[in-house]
């Protein structure tokens, strides 16, 4: 076979290509070409007031704006030494549930499932199995409705601020969502059952998994940065363990550990490291699945997402039932010069922010490390591991399998360009 080349990857967020250079049937060069232009968000933030940062950084991504709001808010709160109220913290988790629900439902059904079912797109899937796609769209919409109830609109919600929230959402608008959320919990349990029946290509990788870990809850907004290799760092120590660098073929930075290892962030990492903290229905769905952890097949990220979908529906229901806002929605800020880091778990993995501010609360320095940038070297390494299994396939099938691998990561190229096409070439 000649080289494998995908000039523009389909069903990923953003613009990128894939190139696999083959020599005597072995991969000699693999590149995820990230030609989506760099976006300079960190530069835009300089000399902006800190309270603008959550809403500016939210614009980095239309699928996971909440993650950007959360990581920036926590980073700036740490810079000011501010601790938000327990109620605001619970509302942040609830808002994150909305984002996980819409993002995971989209990826499971519309982006990755067509690969596993041999369909070109969700459109083809809809023609054959309209009820499945209807379920998917309703599952996704409920997440968007939750975001709207908290943040005023379903895409790019507002309301998160440094110190908490600008205002408490009305309890009624949240409680009105409970019947839909209960339906979603059942539909997500069915999603796990469906996920377990899909035909996943075989690939097992000994990953270093990295995720936020919190002893009392599924790690999303606070905790330690835990690695499956045993490295445990506080969020403020993140850069002591994980380093970003430029590579020639990519407008996205690539990350590696201080030991120069690639590592994996995202649903597989979270499930493997944090499964004990799953909500009861999600834990039971995992136990009933018969899956032995750690799950090491990147294609099976879909199963991890499905189990997380159960978790976040379940957690959303609990948080709404407990929701009784009292007192101010945010802490009054006392401005001072400082520096702070924040990290939360975006649906695609750990999202790290660090800021320096002056005495007037103006941003002097910003650093944003999105999950896809951390995963890019790992995706390339996975493609090296996959290549021996696909070189003898017909070219179209080989190309599709490689593309599928990339899509299973749910890469957000737009976010990472601060990412994909496939090109295989016989030398």
């Amino acid at each position: 076979m000649k080289n494998i080349e995908v000039p523009a990857l389909a069903r990923v967020e953003g613009e990128g290509g894939l190139y696999i250079g083959l020599e005597n049937g072995k991969a000699v060069e693999i590149r995820l070409d990230i030609y989506e232009p760099p976006r300079f968000f960190e530069g835009f933030l300089k000399d902006r007031f800190l309270q603008e940062v959550p809403d500016i950084t939210a614009r980095i991504c239309g699928i996971c704006p909440v993650a950007y709001q959360m990581s920036s808010a926590y980073a700036l709160e740490n810079a000011l030494g501010v601790k938000i109220s327990p109620q605001a913290r619970s509302l942040r988790r609830l808002m994150y549930c909305g984002e996980y629900i819409e993002s995971h439902a989209l990826h499971i059904y519309m982006l990755q499932a067509p690969d596993l079912l041999g369909k070109e797109s969700a459109l083809e899937l809809a023609a054959e199995a309209p009820e499945v796609v209807k379920t998917a769209l309703r599952l996704k919409k409920i997440g968007n409705e939750l975001l709207k109830a908290i943040g005023g609109r379903s895409v790019h919600p507002v309301n998160v601020c440094v110190g908490g929230f600008y205002s408490w959402p009305e309890a009624k608008s949240l409680k009105d969502l409970l019947p839909d959320l209960e339906w979603g919990l059942n539909a997500s349990l069915d999603t796990v059952k469906l996920a377990l029946t899909l035909p996943y290509p075989y690939l097992e990788i000994d990953y270093e998994f990295v995720a936020l870990h919190h002893p009392d809850e599924y790690g999303v907004i606070e905790g330690d940065v835990l690695s499956s290799n045993g490295r445990k760092l506080s969020i403020s120590e993140y850069e002591n363990g994980y380093i970003e660098e430029h590579v020639k073929h990519s407008n996205a930075l690539h990350s590696h550990t201080v030991d120069s290892n690639t590592y994996l962030v995202g649903p597989l990492a979270r499930l493997n490291l944090n499964h004990e903290q799953l909500m009861p229905n999600a834990r039971k769905a995992l136990a009933d699945s018969g899956i032995k952890l750690p799950l090491k097949n990147p294609f099976k990220s879909l199963i991890a997402r499905a189990i997380e979908l159960v978790h976040f529906y379940e957690e959303a229901i609990q948080l709404i039932k407990e929701y009784k806002p009292t007192g101010p929605a945010h802490v009054e800020l006392k401005l001072k010069a400082g520096e702070g880091a924040g990290a939360t778990e975006a649906p695609r993995g750990l999202l790290y922010h660090r800021y320096k501010i002056d005495g007037n609360g103006m941003i002097q320095f910003a650093k944003i490390t999105p999950p896809t940038a951390q995963n890019l070297p790992r995706i390339e390494a996975d493609l090296f591991a996959l290549t021996p299994r696909i070189v003898n396939m017909p070219e179209a099938e080989a190309t599709l399998t490689a593309e599928h691998l990339v899509r299973s990561y749910d890469p957000c190229i737009s976010c990472a360009t601060h990412f994909l096409k496939l090109k295989v070439e016989e030398k």
Partner: protein, 157 residues
């Protein structure tokens, strides 16, 4: 009651791509009696993706007002039906390329009684980042407004 959605589509920051948004805005001003009728729902969509389905499943008919590319002169106003939609299919398969044509196709597969679709298309000259409407497209606005008005009235008959 026949419910009709008038949906302006486009990116307000990309030159003539905003033609659909601007045409719907001007039509609202010029024909308030029609625009304010209870059976008329007006939407501005800068992200014409899956969210468009939510609108389409609640109406009997929808008029999509959008900028189009083609060989006709910039500012040419077209009134098209569903049969002509194939020419709107984007060749991009990325999530970013998911557009009006894909959403309408998905809608026709999923919505039991798909709404009747009409399109008012305005030929664009440029879609540059940060640019305003081109003169040709700006001058076509009265004609686009009249096309929307006629389409709405025909659908409400």
């Amino acid at each position: 009651m026949t419910k009709v959605a008038v949906i302006g589509i486009g990116q307000s920051l990309r030159g003539d791509d905003a033609a659909g948004l601007e045409a719907v805005r001007q039509w609202k001003e010029k024909f308030p009696e029609t625009a304010n009728r209870p059976e008329v729902q007006i939407e501005a969509s800068e992200l014409p993706g899956l969210a468009l389905l939510d609108v389409l499943c609640k109406v009997n008919a929808a008029i999509l007002v959008d900028a189009i590319q083609g060989s006709d002169k910039p500012g040419t106003v077209h009134r098209l039906g569903e049969a002509e939609l194939a020419s709107f299919t984007s060749d991009s398969k990325s999530a970013h390329g998911w557009g009006v044509a894909e959403t309408l196709r998905l809608g026709s597969q999923l919505i039991s009684t798909s709404p009747k679709i009409r399109i008012v298309g305005i030929n664009s000259e440029q879609a540059e980042m940060g640019a305003n409407l081109s003169n040709a497209v700006r001058e076509a606005m009265p004609k686009a407004c009249e096309a929307i008005e006629e389409e709405v009235n025909e659908l409400l008959k």
